[in-house]
Symmetry: C2
Subunit: 335 residues, 2 copies
């Protein structure tokens, strides 16, 4: 039967309704965006694809929009926020692990050398993630993440990390959600780290978060408690060519809209662009050292180099944060 043809037993209060809008007929739906080409391209895409009869109309079930997280929806400097979580947790656990005092990168991190982790490469990062993200249930991990978010502060802005989300991107996701697009996060970050807070912060429920993951095992703890335990072993890296793979695994449809900010998003944008019909591909370019950070081709974190060249060549939208965004963080509006 058809997807929307079988809603039965409707009674009493309708709780949510979705429809299509003519974006131009509305009040400003992207108030934190300057009236630039980026903003017009976004409003135009939403109007074209949701207006019945338009040659670019996209049926509701195909309205899949994917967003990278680090550097696209929230900041990623001076280190990925999940790495800050891992470092804080490593230090907290250190007294119970005297063996770490003789082992790198643990030793340096515990001593306060923030650069040691980066210097240790992928291997070191994975060892630290394994030591700090495993050996507990999913629920216990979720609590740890939320406890950390409630107390940790970003070193430059002296605010909770979840304050450092991008107001223009919140508006963009709300615009898409209001037009029956299903918004997904597709991130190299850990899926359980993100799911702990994405519903509260981005209005994106856990089932719409795709990310990297470790092995999880089902256990029946005695006498009668079924739990899922996080194990210290990587299962899937949702980055670069892993992003289209993650999209296929979790969503099973090719997106029509994709936003990223770095070379790790290139294949996700290519995969999105490769489908039939109207598409939108966008990149956030970090150009504002005063209000946020400025980095691109030479950055160790969030390098934007090959994907930028491809975006220019193909005519994808490249958002210039400094020029295109009136406000970067929600707290700027309140000041």
């Amino acid at each position: 039967m058809h997807r929307r043809g079988f809603v039965m037993g409707m009674f009493a209060a309708g709780i949510s309704c979705v429809g299509s809008i003519d974006a131009y007929a509305q009040a400003d739906l992207l108030p934190s965006w300057n009236d630039s080409g980026s903003k017009q391209a976004l409003l135009d895409f939403v109007a074209r694809t949701t207006t019945a009869g338009s040659s670019d109309y996209i049926p509701i079930e195909q309205r899949i929009a994917v967003f990278d997280n680090d550097g696209t929806l929230w900041s990623e400097q001076p280190i990925y926020f999940q790495v800050a979580f891992a470092i804080d947790r490593l230090r907290q656990l250190a007294p119970a692990h005297p063996e770490w005092r003789a082992r790198e990168p643990f030793k340096s991190i515990i001593a306060g050398d923030m650069a040691a982790l980066a210097a240790s490469g992928d291997k070191g990062v994975l060892e630290v993630i394994a030591a700090t993200h495993a050996g507990m249930t999913i629920e216990a991990f979720t609590r740890l993440v939320n406890d950390w978010l409630a107390s940790a502060r970003h070193p430059r802005f002296d605010r909770p990390y979840t304050d450092l989300v991008y107001q223009p991107m919140l508006e963009l996701m709300a615009l898409l959600q209001g037009n029956a697009f299903k918004t997904y996060i597709v991130s190299g970050g850990g899926v359980e780290f993100m799911r702990a807070w994405t519903e509260r912060v981005y209005n994106i429920p856990p089932e719409q978060v795709v990310g990297s993951s470790g092995v999880v095992k089902f256990e029946m703890q005695q006498p009668d408690k079924p739990v899922l335990m996080k194990e210290p072993k990587v299962e899937f890296i949702d980055d670069g060519p892993g992003k289209p793979v993650g999209i296929n695994r979790f969503i099973g449809r090719r997106p029509v809209f994709a936003f990223g900010n770095s070379d790790g998003d290139q294949q996700m944008l290519e995969y999105t662009a490769g489908g039939e019909g109207a598409r939108f591909m966008g990149l956030v370019h970090h150009t504002d050292a005063v209000r946020e950070y400025a980095y691109d081709r030479q950055s160790r974190i969030g390098r934007l180099d090959k994907a930028w060249d491809e975006a220019v060549k193909r005519g994808w939208t490249v958002v210039d944060m400094k020029a295109d965004w009136k406000v970067i963080f929600p707290f700027e509006k309140q000041q």
Copy 2:
């Protein structure tokens, strides 16, 4: 921000609305179910959990319902339908693979020995799946599945396999969908095999199908075609203790409602039962050899033994197909 607090730009026609109902105040929402304890337990659960103010009320975002597929939503005898697909495809490919004529279980299957595959065990089944489900794009595989469904006939009922879905379960899923439950399939079957048709047949979109999967790789085919290729290697088996793991990976929430039919669903039901608040755990017991099949503790396919004992012990609902279902297949209504 809150999940439902940010719908903006609503204009023109509302297309879908969800709400809560009092199931008892309605016309019969499960017309193919006899007035048995199973039916009452289902209606009672939906009424209790969706009535505002009820102590068993479940917020909409937590209304996750999971269903096994083979033997729970459609038949699984005399062999899993996906295995029938693999056998048909193996025979179709055989002329181009002379080497198969000297290799078991390929040789026997090509010669028409349907039992050879089962006899070859997991190893044989995986070899046949690898030979028939890989080396092509996701889109090409989806077309293959749909072409097969359009022409293949079930050996006993002489009908397309998708005719052999259970009418009472379609009604149950529609009842839940109409009450804002998100219905998921969580099956040992291949995720891409199911996604090819679940939206059309069950009203379940691809992103709500969790299943076993093979490795998939992103490739940029020359000059400019990004594709996902299916590789001949198993990645994840979504069965037994793998089902709660698959649920966590894809959905990231513990379900409140779970339906299965075999020991492969036991851990999914245990995991569902292990959460807080109102829950529903159900099993389909195949008791009707005349209209469908009768099998349980001794069956090689869909064995129901340990999960049955646990259901009895814990008071989970066990549906007796013969006694509880007026109609089994949709085509019975049209006769």
